[in-house]
Amino acid sequence: MKMSDLVEINYRLLAVLPRLGINIGFGEKTVSRICRETGVDPAAFILICNMYSYQGYMPTEEALEAADPQSVLKYLHNSHSFYVEDNFRELECLMDRLVAPCSASQKKIILDFFDGYRKEVENHFDYEEQVFFPYVDSVMKGKGPGDYSAAKFEENHSNIEEKLDDLKNIVMKYLPPVCSPRLANDVLYAVFSLSEDLEKHTNIENLVLVPMVNRMENKKEA
């Protein structure tokens, strides 16, 4: 299958590709050729695309066995950078413009809330980057599990959706009337799509990466 046909099927995959180092300008190249050229494991690529495209998709044991955890890890790691550098920055610009006509105190209230949300998510990412991902890396390299485990990660995997949901409600329902409805719509589109994207991201962590790590941990103990 051609990569361009894949995007034709689900254009939202356009968000996934750059996180795997795949850039547009595919020409007539097939998915497998592009994967080979960019060093992405094709089985992991298909698994991620399925997780991203189908609500409630549960990966099969075979799919988890076949996919390379390194590629999944790369995807998740790069996603974090995209969220922080692209999505949050874009949303911040939109929010700044949205609340520009508000009173100074209203502006501060709303922007402080957004800032609080952003910091919370960044902390969440930092934990994954500094604790969980290095652990996964060491398990992949065949080191013993030590005293950390994927189970511990699941325990600490906090909910980062609530505040984004609140932001959605605040913008949709309680914004001061001086704000531009057009800009409010732009913010809402961005928030809804970010929220969907984050949900898929969390699913890939919980339903793909964690089971993969469990499998490796068990092998080591056996």
Partner: protein, 195 residues
């Protein structure tokens, strides 16, 4: 399930208690014979499944707004049990109307239907915050914890949690930070009180 009675007639209140006693399922949580500030305070602190009210408690001119008045304090369905004739127009505001000649089974049936009916979200009243919910929201926004709010208003923590759940259901806002933004944008609190 618990029911709060607002009725001046002792004999009618006793009658309801008797029906509940015989048939189980419902229980009278409190009875007041009038609506003064003391009773209003009681109503505020109550978390019951239904309110039964005799419209005779209210002055004739305000009888059209009984449901509205009570829903300021609670989300529970309001059932009328009139001791005198009531016009159809004012009967319509209630979630159910009991009749002096209803059989005990009928009374239970009407209450059960009123309690299980989906909350009337179509009307603005069902989704606007009540004044008590606003009080609680202000406390939450100011950073008080449930225990402190319970002590402040002399209500149980359970009641505070019920109010908070309703606030979240109505506004769609779950986090304390989000509720603070709501309170500030709606001018319920002063920005200086949350610094």
């Amino acid at each position: 399930m618990t029911v709060f009675l607002i009725m001046p007639s002792r004999i009618m209140a006793r009658g309801i208690e008797g029906v509940f006693h015989d048939l189980g399922e419902f229980k009278v949580e409190g009875i007041v014979s009038d609506i003064s500030s003391r009773e209003e305070a009681m109503l505020k602190n109550m978390s019951v499944d239904a309110i039964i009210v005799d419209p005779a408690v209210f002055a004739h001119s305000s009888r059209g707004n009984v449901k509205h008045f009570i829903s300021e304090y609670t989300d529970a369905p309001v059932v009328a049990f009139p001791s005198m004739l009531m016009d159809d127009e004012s009967a319509r505001q209630y979630d159910a109307v009991l009749n002096l000649y209803d059989s005990p089974a009928e009374i239970i049936h009407k209450l059960r239907t009123a309690v299980s009916a989906p909350k009337d979200n179509a009307s603005a009243d069902g989704s606007e915050l009540s004044s008590r919910e606003k009080d609680i929201l202000i406390c939450v926004a100011k950073g008080l914890i449930n225990k402190e709010i319970a002590d402040l208003y002399n209500i149980s923590i359970h009641t505070v949690i019920t109010h908070r759940r309703n606030i979240t259901r109505k506004t769609g806002i779950k986090t304390v930070a989000g509720l603070t933004v709501y309170a500030l944008l709606n001018n319920l609190i002063d920005p200086s009180s949350v610094e």
